[in-house]
Each structure stands twice: as structure tokens, then as C-alpha cells.
């Protein structure tokens, strides 16, 4: 295990990450624990895209999941208050389909956690999600940071359900959907 990188843009070879996978009942779970590192994000996106390709036949589904994975991981790196983040991908068998959840957990700052909570509540209340997305684009076009477009994009473009849990400083955001599985 190597030491933590000093900067989230450090060489990913210097980042610590640990991968685990296991099957439990009708679920398959894999977890990746990683030190916040932006350069790790596209590597993981490509890795999980290959994995998603083994499970789902439709490239559109793979693209939606890849987008969600990328945006969630980047969020976890950008808003990390110090400490490792954890990506968890869980697949659950359903008749003719798979339920998939992509969950990211990381320690974060209270203001970021509050912002996530507000955004997800606003999204949930919005009568038309696409209009909500357009409104957010207009509202934040001139803001340099923290627009919430990443999470909204997962919902509006990726068409995935979003939820979150908070325990102290640890926040977990989950993007989930049910999709037809690749015929075996």
C-alpha cells in the first residue's frame, strides 16, 4: 500500500485503491476504496464500463451507468473533506432484468452535504425534471463552482434515481435503475 497523494491530481500510480467483489444471495457487489484522485476517475469509468458491458447488452445503458459513475466519483474527489472514498456497485437479479445501484461514499464538509440534500429534494419535488435541469443551467451558467449540474445530469440525462444518506461527515449518494439484462 502506497502513501496518500498530496494532491487529488497526483499520479494515480501513487494513489491507494483496494478492490473487493463478492456475491451474496441474488446480489453481486463490488467495492473500490480509493484515495481522492481525479486521474483515477476515467480509469475507473472505463473499467466499470467494461464490467457493465458484460452484464447489459444495450450500449445506451452502459453509457448511462458510465456517466453516473464518473460524475459520482468526481463529486467524491472534489468535495472530499479528507479521507478515503468508496465506490460500491451492486447488481441484483430480477426476472429478466438487473437492478443496479452505483453508490459513492466519502467524508464531506457540512455545507456540501447540505447542498446535496437541498438539490436532491428540489429534484424530487420538480414536476418536470428536464425543465428543472434547464433552469439549473440558466441559473448557474455564470457560477464558477458548485452548480449541481453533475448530479442533475445523472438524473436528467442518465435517467437514474438518486438518493442519499448522511452519517456524521460521511455522505453516500446512490444512483440506481433497473435495466434488461444481457440474454444468457
Amino acid at each position: 500500500m502506497s502513501s496518500l497523494p498530496e494532491h487529488p491530481d497526483a499520479d494515480p500510480r501513487e494513489a491507494h485503491f483496494e478492490f473487493r467483489s463478492h456475491r451474496k444471495g441474488d446480489s453481486y457487489l463490488f467495492e473500490l476504496e480509493f484515495t481522492p484522485n481525479l486521474r483515477l476517475v476515467p480509469i475507473v469509468r472505463r473499467f466499470v464500463s467494461d464490467f457493465y458491458g458484460e452484464v447489459f447488452a444495450d450500449p445506451e445503458i452502459i453509457s448511462r451507468l458510465a456517466l453516473a459513475t464518473h460524475e459520482l466519483m468526481e463529486n467524491a474527489v472534489r468535495h472530499n473533506s479528507g479521507g478515503e472514498a468508496r465506490l460500491m456497485v451492486e447488481l441484483r437479479d430480477m426476472p429478466g432484468a438487473k437492478h443496479i445501484s452505483v453508490r459513492i461514499g466519502n467524508p464531506s464538509y457540512p455545507e456540501n452535504i447540505a447542498r446535496v440534500r437541498r438539490l436532491l429534494e428540489d429534484m424530487e419535488r420538480a414536476p418536470d425534471l428536464f425543465q428543472f435541469y434547464l433552469h439549473l443551467m440558466r441559473q448557474t451558467a455564470r457560477e464558477p463552482e458548485g452548480s449541481g449540474l453533475g448530479l442533475t445530469r445523472i438524473r436528467a440525462e442518465g435517467e437514474m434515481h438518486l438518493s442519499h444518506t448522511v452519517q456524521g461527515q460521511w455522505v453516500e449518494i446512490t444512483a440506481s435503475t433497473t435495466c434488461p439484462a444481457r440474454p444468457s
Binding site: E71, M137, R153
Partner: protein
């Protein structure tokens, strides 16, 4: 490296952006994977393109995404900011049109460009090609 428009290209390990003059206007080529690390470069780059397009009075800016594997939300937002600036230019009509060349097989491009088309109707057109 510069081009005829004197806008330096972006050349990073995983992402490149360049701009060239065309008969009808200006052409942007985005290649690779546009992620958080390049969004701070992409913003000023697009701002320069906008200023040059206004200065030259071009009628169209073409943005070729055919070789763009992925774009994250930070870089997507740079496109939003650019189109927002275009909408704010005074006048009855937008001074120039933005035409995106995209792949109909790449889902994120379809979804993101649909959003941009609705964000800036009358300014954005999308030409989707059946290429991987």
C-alpha cells in the same frame, strides 16, 4: 501552438481542442475525454472562440464532437456558459449559430446536446452521424 485565429490549442494527455477557420465560419475540434482537469482550460478557450467569432462576424461555429469519448459536467457547463454569453449578445438574432457534429451512437452526446438545444433554441443545431 496557434492557428489562423490566434487561439492557442489545448493539448493535454487525454484531451485536445483546436480551432480553425472555415469557409462559413469557425470550426472547433474536441478530442479525447473532457474532464475536470481541463475545464479551467476549456472555459477561456471557448470565451476566446466567442470573442473571435464576434470580431470576425462569422455566421456559424461548428463544434466537432465525433472524436470526443466523454465530457463531464464541469466541461459541459463551459459549453452552457458559452451559449449563455451568445444569448446575451444584443440584437434581434444571435450573431452566429453553433452547429454540433455528434455521433448518434454515443448516448451522452445525444442527451447533452438535446439539453443544449433546449437551453439555447435558435442558436444550436445538432447534426448526428451514424459513426462509432
Amino acid at each position: 501552438m496557434t492557428n489562423a485565429l490566434d487561439i492557442p490549442a489545448i493539448k493535454e494527455a487525454s484531451f485536445e481542442a483546436s480551432v480553425t477557420s472555415e469557409d462559413k465560419g469557425v470550426r472547433l475540434d474536441l478530442r479525447g475525454s473532457a474532464e475536470l482537469q481541463v475545464s479551467d482550460l476549456l472555459g477561456p478557450f471557448l470565451s476566446r472562440v466567442h470573442q473571435e467569432a464576434l470580431r470576425l462576424g462569422v455566421r456559424e461555429v461548428t463544434v466537432d464532437l465525433l472524436k470526443l469519448e466523454f465530457m463531464n459536467s464541469s466541461c459541459f457547463k463551459r459549453l452552457v456558459t458559452w451559449l449563455s454569453a451568445l444569448r446575451e449578445v444584443e440584437g434581434q438574432q444571435p450573431p452566429y449559430a453553433v452547429r454540433f457534429l455528434s455521433s448518434s451512437r454515443v448516448r451522452w452526446q445525444k442527451a447533452s446536446l438535446q439539453a443544449l438545444s433546449c437551453f439555447a433554441p435558435g442558436s444550436v443545431t445538432v447534426e448526428a452521424r451514424d459513426v462509432a
